[in-house]
Amino acid sequence: MNLTLKIWRQKDANSKGQMTDYKVSEISEHMSFLEMMDVLNEQIINKGEEPVAFDHDCREGICGMCSMYINGEAHGPDRGVTTCQLHMRMFKDGDTITIEPWKAAAFPVVKDLVVDRSAFDRIQHAGGYISVNTSGNTQDANSIPIAKEAADTAMDAATCIGCGACVATCKNSSAMLFVGAKVSQYALLPQGQVEAADRVKNMVAQMDLEGFGNCTNTGACEVECPKGISLDNIARMNRELMKASI
């Protein structure tokens, strides 16, 4: 198929960006979206111009690097996938596709479609861990049974890949789905209980400091999340913070 691409080009964090049009042809419907971008970039390089910069690494939907806002949706029109798992069969011959970077005050653009998501790391530094030393001399792994349901719910929260689609999608650029998932994972496990109060307070404080917006419960993040992280995690974080503060 033949496509018109409207792509956000921005030289670096300090430059102004603009949308630029490109044409690509002979795109197979079995290609992934990023393979289509590879074709485009090869074409641009062979013309002696600078290729479009975009983040990507594992290309199997787990590392959380890829981060494109495609036709007005984070990771494009498909559900439960990252951009690297989005396939061209979702598009039609002759389509015009708009491709933009995540846009949020807390995610400044590095170049073209690449953004700086280090705010997520700093939120994790503030408390995204259990303070156990790494000696291996902890108690036996089976000494505390954990109800299967709690373990499974914790796992569901823990599958977050930290891609930032929730922030990109949210009209308020809120990071609560991301933070809620991390808070929930630990809140649901007995190992995480000891520091639960400080953890949620510190992580929420850091989240606010980074300049993410507030949650207005539109639920858009849950729909666009490639890993289907549930809004329940935000509610659980709210409860945890109330519990910690009272």
Binding site: G48, E49, A126, V132, T138
Partner: protein, 665 residues
């Protein structure tokens, strides 16, 4: 220089304990004055950084991704082995050790593997304490599954995302140390050279991938944890950015490179669909617990299936060839990866491949649906359930176990694997070879260590499933933190290493010259053009089976391609900006050297062992034929061009395991 593996004396089960009792320690006050650089933040690098910081060293960690959490360990799916024997099915440290050495086709170092098995149980304790949500049974205890090449269930898992959860565990341990200021994290940084001062590794030259700035970083020791080099094949299950550069740079500065030809071709990957393909996707080996692998028995059925006239589900049971069950009745579909991959290639080469490219076999879950469904019907008290009901109940169980993998398959292939068998084909997945290390995990450069997939030590010629995660975490959490202390104990009075020395100057100059060359060359072909060409040579001539003639021509072709690359490569943009093509050019340049050494190593190894299959050396039944005279590690010393590399042999002695014919029949 003679190779000294520094394996401690004494009985194998006491070696590690005795060693730990006798090594030099660094007191906590002195650790504050010692810096350690860790390159890579996957399971090995991440866990090592966290533990070294916990002990009190000042750690500088480097990742080319934008966060340590994105290292490619995250993509490991199936699980992690540990000799916990929670299932009471006869597992033990010795059995894990035995399975690993046998699985590696008797080409790994006994003492290292035993230590790995010994510390494996601690990993699970550690990870649970960190909040890793492993799968549990209804009693609230940890669940296990079985993997290829073993007869016990010792694999712990977190859905199909075990690597992700373990990496997030290590990342959380890092976060705690970053918050304390004990780890200084350098994201989007790439190591481009190691700096040797007075014969010791004392720092690195790194490039900031955002600004393009070249930076000098000093330390008392350098740890390479940069993963494997599967991307030398262009197409692999590795991440797009996975590269050999860190390992190759230390090799060029004096570290020997061991067994480069030992590559694991994983049997259960999604087949390629076209030339545009940028990477291959693995489907966890755990699928082989419940899936049966087959191709049609008759070529006429193959034709009908390829042309779409016949659906695989329509083919009668007696017209199918469950070739693994046929050839290996004892292990069946759970034979080790190398065996399963070669068997798939054998069938496809014989013309039985089931897709348009002829490179695919079926992985069929229909029998599991029936088995699980019947069981569920009994549990739920449904009498005389219909076939459809049984299938539905069975599919529920399979969905709970592998739902995310089935969904991933459907997204990529656009076929519903609940209704039609999956198609799979082997793909490059892991490299057992790597930087040579001794028992201390130190390379032949004093003060330079290599851990995880970057080193060569534990998996011999073939790695068993769920063992990579085990090795990465064992090295990082429990082995390196001891062994590095023994070395650093001599450095307590050294003081801060200056970066303002001729050694750093020279290394930085070399790095800058190379970068200048790339951005100024303005050649005719893109970096990917060369990478794809290299990949094709590697896959065709150094792939699942190899022969002397092919390997010789591979050496020549790669050498010629490298020459072409250095004349005609085109890197757009400048060096003072975010420039992915520039970063990639450096990586491909190193792959072009490694690839040749790889072929040379494969040529020298005149036997078949594990993932290395030489067509000249096989039994009449087509099984791999190992030779006693090749019971050694090939450690290559850099001497300029790859063709000039000098071979050093580390003989492998097996005192605790009888070296036998490796049979899974």
């Amino acid at each position: 220089m003679a190779l000294d593996s520094k394996v401690p004396q004494g009985p194998i089960k006491d070696k590690w304990t005795d060693y730990k009792n006798k090594i030099n320690l660094v007191n906590p006050a002195n650790k504050r004055h010692i810096d350690v650089i860790v390159v890579g933040t996957g399971l090995a690098g991440g866990s090592a950084s966290a533990t070294l910081a916990e002990l009190g060293y000042n750690v500088k960690a480097f990742a080319y991704q934008d966060s340590p959490r994105r290292a490619h360990s995250i993509a490991a799916q199936g699980g992690i082995n540990a000799a916990k024997n929670y299932q009471g099915d006869g597992d033990s440290t010795y059995r894990l050790f035995y399975d690993t050495v046998k699985g590696g086709d008797y080409r790994s170092r006994e003492a290292n593997v035993y230590r790995l098995a010994e510390v494996s149980a601690n990993i699970i304790d550690q990870c649970v304490a960190q909040g890793v949500p492993f799968a549990r049974d209804y009693g609230g205890l940890l669940d296990n599954r079985s993997f290829g090449g073993v007869l016990v269930s010792r694999t712990f898992y977190a859905k199909g995302q075990t690597g992700q959860q373990l990496l997030l565990g290590a990342y959380s341990a890092m976060n705690r140390q970053i918050a304390r200021g004990k780890i200084e994290m350098f994201n989007r940084h790439e190591m481009l050279d190691v700096v040797i001062v007075d014969g010791k590794a004392r720092g690195i030259i790194a490039r900031n991938l955002v600004t393009g700035e070249i930076e000098r970083h000093s330390a008392h020791a350098v740890v390479i944890a940069s993963g494997g080099y599967g991307n030398v094949y262009f197409l692999s299950t590795n991440a797009m950015g996975s590269n050999v550069t860190a390992g190759w740079k230390v090799h060029k500065k004096g570290a020997y490179f061991a067994n480069p030809c030992y590559t694991q071709i994983h049997p259960t990957c999604i087949p390629r669909s076209g030339d545009y393909q940028s990477k291959l996707t693995l489907m966890s080996e755990s699928l082989r617990n419940d899936g049966r692998i087959w191709v049609p028995k008759h070529l006429k059925d193959v034709e009908s299936i390829r042309s779409g006239k016949l659906k695989p589900t329509q083919l009668k049971e007696e017209d199918r060839d469950y070739y693994l069950e046929r050839r290996y009745p004892a292990f069946g579909n759970l034979v080790p990866r190398d065996v399963a991959s070669r068997a798939a290639k054998e069938r496809c080469d014989a013309g039985y491949g089931v897709n348009a490219t002829g490179e695919a076999v079926y992985l069929d879950f229909a029998a599991s649906f029936v088995r699980y469904g019947t069981e569920q019907a009994k549990i739920q008290g449904i009498s005389n359930p219909s076939e459809a009901k049984i299938k539905e109940l069975g599919q529920e169980i399979v969905r709970a176990k592998y739902g995310n993998l089935f969904q991933m398959y459907e997204k990529i292939v656009d076929e519903n694997p609940y209704e039609t068998p999956m198609m799979i084909y082997p793909a490059v997945h892991y490299t057992m070879g790597g930087v040579w290390v001794d028992y201390n995990l130190m390379t032949t450069i004093p003060g330079c260590y290599a851990i995880g997939e970057a080193n060569f030590s534990d998996h011999g010629a073939n790695r068993l499933g769920a063992s990579a995660l085990m090795q990465g975490l064992a090295d990082g959490y429990f082995v390196l933190p001891y062994t590095i202390g023994d070395y650093l104990a001599d450095d307590i009075r050294t003081g801060k290493i200056s970066t303002d020395t001729p050694e750093f100057e020279a290394a930085e100059k070399e790095v800058k010259e190379r970068i200048d060359f790339f951005v100024n060359n303005k050649g005719t072909h893109s970096v990917d053009y060369y990478h794809k060409k290299l990949g094709k040579i590697m896959w065709d001539k150094c792939g699942m089976s190899r022969n002397a003639e092919g390997l010789k021509s591979a050496i020549e072709e790669i050498s010629a391609l490298r020459k072409d690359f250095w004349e005609n490569v085109n890197v757009p943009g400048t060096d003072k900006e975010y420039n992915e093509q520039l970063a990639k050019a450096g990586r491909v340049a190193d792959f072009l050297e490694l690839g040749e050494l790889f072929a040379k190593d494969a040529l020298v190894r005149e036997e078949s062992a594990g993932g290395h299959f030489r067509e000249e050396h096989q039994t009449p039944e087509g099984e791999a034929k190992r030779l006693k005279e090749f019971q050694f590690v090939s450690a290559w010393e850099y001497k300029g061009e790859p063709k000039d590399a000098v071979l050093h042999k580390e003989e492998l002695a097996y005192e605790n395991i009888e070296v036998k014919e490796r049979s899974y029949k």
